[in-house]
Subunit: 506 residues, 2 copies
């Protein structure tokens, strides 16, 4: 390992132990707050050791589960291993792990799907129970005992402030030069003592570079040397390219009409391939001096920083492909004045998002013809990932854009539906919907007008006739004509598509 | 009339004319921004004159409609008369008028149901089109041409800033002593120039007492002498008393556990009788030095101010019963240092609501067993009123409470349903649900746990078995077990209740 100089506080060196020893200190049934946001900066060793310990205990016929709180999604080494051994009682506030998802949807574990900006205040308020243990990945510990976050900040500050006991993972793979990239704000308070968050532009630094931590709470330090397990991005497919194209054309149009400044407004870009594709395509778009006020920095945005198209990005995590992560790690110094990583309490703060006038761009699972968006549930019942920060951004942004391919499952299922089977973003919060077919600008449109433009511009041609037919029929038979629906049909479209899919497959 | 001294700017006196003359200046097809918020401070004469003019023009076989933008709901003299003559093309952002509602639900007029805090930025952004005319009720015009709002501020500032032409109604019935009660903030900007809103407590004054208005835009001044047409509050019925009791007991419990300060946090209280009953009951609750950061000041809150239980209230409108309005009008001076009326842009600002840690209390039409709330649509298709400010408050509050009697229509319809027919407040935004049956604290509960406590604590005993049966069956047959549903049944519960209601009536 790269040496003791990562742990510059001599007194704390006595706490160094193995992951197994640290995992043994975690009591059954406790609430554990872990670092990690969108596959970045999560602890790499202790969760694995804990899963092994759980496995052994389970094999002996005893029960052993914990509740796991994080920043957002993590990786197989955390969510994956703990879900595999059925070691989680409860998970919050966001996940995207296949095994974890399976357990939740089988009813085997509880999941709290919370707005990311709500987590801090819920924990401080005590509404989620007591936080027993924090497990935080850092790049190093300074002389004064303060900690340097690694590739994400997430809820690290909240966990360290609130937990009874703290386990630190010092990851030697993460670049020490990350020191100085983070901006940890210690000015938050509980009401009635809250003050304005003094951020006036995405690049404002308002805090400290390190995380404060009472050394007496630290019960273990574990050294690791492993990369974040981020998946590579697929090169943008045709659909993503088309979606990105529609959005960029729309931006151009808004700038021309004087409705957006020529450097746009700070961008928030959700997770996934489509979001990444939009960033990739901005590389060649006629907008300069872009900024981002977002959660995750993916490859596309990283490239914009590198090329100089983007002047500054504020995020809470780096969600880079292995190649981009290697490169970033090599060249951190170059990016130190173009990038800040903040606690998610601040990256997702309604006050700041509203003030900066963020342009929010997030994915969706289904949108109904009236503009209600489901971004969490398959068939209204199975969780996909969670709402994440999409609600913080969509509600408080200057412009809220939702994007999706017009159909899923190889064209079998329309992502534009008569009625959403679950609603995460209401008709009041969705201003633009974009699919590869086109873009629907819903601002200023009443429900029936929204229906016409969503079906016309966004639906896949295969599903357009059925959607139009439903909409026409609803206007004939609906009880009320503000938002015409035929409720008796409920969600029969789902079974019809299922039948259709089966027939087509045969 | 009480005299010219209400119009202290001599030059503007030349613009005085009759309501008919003023109404004749409003072109067909234009967008008109009117004052008025929850039955307070709306223009009393020009809309009536305009409706008469429309009627005559319609009788002559010609078309004449306008789009009407307001602060929130108004009264029969505005929404009522214009809807009766079919004079509105479009209405936004909130209404609660029976005739208006009927036209919207018959598909005869368009309605844009918008978060109140979004209206200002949509108008400034130009997304709702050009504002042609503003019609604003004031108590007077000062020497310098600035205007004194009457019993509401609402969107007055935005309308005056953005409209091409302005018509003023000077209402002699409204007390001149209202001067000094308003606080109009001129520091708002469009992004990227926005600065923090410098409110740190409900009582902070950050603006001017008057509304600025370019005198060259004023095309007419009409004098009126008529009270706001507010409806009296019914004395709290048994259900309201029980709901209020549950909430107050809950507050007591939270204070005891150290989760709320003993003077609580600033209260936001929605419109209607239940909301009013909660305020009435706080009169005898063991909390002192209460404050409010809310939209409307109803009788209950007024009584708290009078008795000294409440130290300060910030609102955008006075929605008082005729008796309370008389009394307030008589004694304005007494309340000038206990009350501020702000533009709704500020009363509903996400930044301020979040900072102050508001306790939001709003009504609902139906809540489903997983905590999704419908507060706008009857049977998912007919608009009742609109979302108003409930989304601004619920999402950004410290604590979001929704309340309703457990059943509607004389017990025929359960307000707790398997699946909401429309969602305005998502599962992520609803922390407490209260009916006369009891209170469900949903914080920290996963969907199935929420279902158990909502059915158990909130549902009416008559509907409990059916809801439990649905929930049990959903857990058997649902595709996913995160949020179990039987989608094929759609909303069949609605037709069952209808049949049941018919049978019971027979
Ligand atoms: C909505 C969301 C799942 C879309 O993800 P994505 O990667 O852009 O989109 P994809 O098209 O790859 O869809 C993801 C999966 O959902 C499936 N899916 C999408 N729409 C579907 C639909 N209408 N019905 C059934 N399945 C659907 C896809 O088939 C895919 O499944 P697979 O992985 O089994 O192939 C994702 O954006 C998300 O989790 N959003 C909520 C959180 C969020 O917005 N975060 C950003 C701020 S933190
Ligand atoms: C939801 C809301 C309509 C409830 O109003 P309320 O006056 O507290 O409650 P009521 O019980 O009197 O219900 C109002 C009407 O809806 C009907 N209703 C309520 N629940 C119903 C249901 N589940 N199914 C059918 N009708 C229902 C009532 O019967 C009543 O109808 P009526 O006037 O024909 O008798 C009202 O709070 C609202 O408009 N909320 C949205 C805006 C808001 O929250 N504003 C506050 C901040 S601006």
């Amino acid at each position: 390992m790269a040496g003791q100089n990562r742990i510059r506080n001599a007194q704390l060196r006595s706490k160094i132990m193995t992951a197994d020893q640290a995992a043994a200190l975690i009591p059954k049934g406790c609430n554990v707050g872990m670092s990690g946001f969108t596959g970045a900066g999560y602890p790499k060793a202790v969760p694995i050791a804990l899963a092994e310990r759980m496995n052994a205990i389970h094999a002996a016929g005893e029960d052993f589960k914990i509740s796991v709180w994080t920043g957002a999604s993590t990786a197989p080494e955390l969510d994956g291993v703990l879900a595999k051994v059925d070691g989680m009682e409860l998970r919050l506030p966001y996940q995207s792990d296949p095994t974890c998802r399976k357990r939740i949807n089988a009813g085997e574990m509880d999941y709290l799907d919370i707005h990311l900006s709500h987590v801090g205040q819920f924990v401080w308020g005590g509404y989620l129970g007591k936080l027993d243990v924090a497990i935080i990945e850092v790049v190093g510990i300074r002389e004064d005992g303060s900690l340097i976050s690694s590739s994400s900040v997430g809820n690290n500050k909240t966990w360290l402030d609130c937990a009874d006991k703290v386990i630190i993972e010092v990851n030697h793979w993460q670049n020490e030069a990350l020191e100085g990239v983070h901006d940890v704000y210690y000015g938050t308070q509980l009401p009635p003592k809250r003050k304005p968050i003094p951020i006036l532009s995405a690049s404002d630094r308002i805090g400290e570079t390190g995380l404060r931590c009472d050394p007496n709470k630290i019960i273990a330090i574990v050294e690791t040397d492993a990369p974040d397990r981020n998946s590579p991005f697929s090169p943008p497919d045709e659909n993503s390219r088309l979606i990105a194209g529609h959005i960029i054309e729309f931006f151009g149009h808004e700038v021309k009409r004087g409705r957006l400044p020529k450097e746009l407004l700070p961008l928030q870009s959700g997770v996934g391939n489509v979001a990444n594709a939009v960033m990739e395509q901005l590389q060649n778009a006629p907008f300069d001096n872009l900024t981002a006020y977002t959660e995750v920095l993916q490859d596309g945005m990283f490239n914009l920083l590198r090329s100089g198209k983007m002047a500054f990005a504020s995020a809470t995590a780096l969600s880079l492909s292995p190649e981009a992560a290697e490169e970033f790690n090599r060249d951190v110094a170059k990016y130190r004045d173009k990038l800040v990583l903040r606690p998610q309490e601040i990256s997702n703060h309604p006050e700041v998002i509203r003030r900066l006038g963020v342009i929010a761009m997030n994915g969706l699972i289904e949108a109904d013809i009236y503009g209600n968006v489901n971004s969490t549930h398959i068939r209204g019942t199975s969780i996909m990932n969670g709402i994440g920060g999409s609600g913080d951004f969509a509600r408080n942004s200057w412009l809220s854009i939702f994007m999706t391919p017009s159909s899923a499952k190889n064209g079998a299922i329309s992502c534009i539906v008569p009625m959403a089977t679950h609603v995460d973003h209401t008709e009041h919060d969705v201003q633009v919907i974009v699919t590869e077919q086109g873009l629907a600008d819903l601002r200023g449109l009443s429900p029936k007008k929204r229906a016409r433009v969503i079906i016309e511009n966004c639906a896949h041609p295969y599903f357009k006739p059925a959607l139009n037919e439903y909409f026409e029929r609803a206007q004939k038979y609906s009880h009320g004509q503000h938002t015409p629906h035929i409720l008796d049909e409920g969600f029969t479209f789902l079974s019809e598509w299922q039948a259709d899919m089966t027939a087509r497959d045969a």
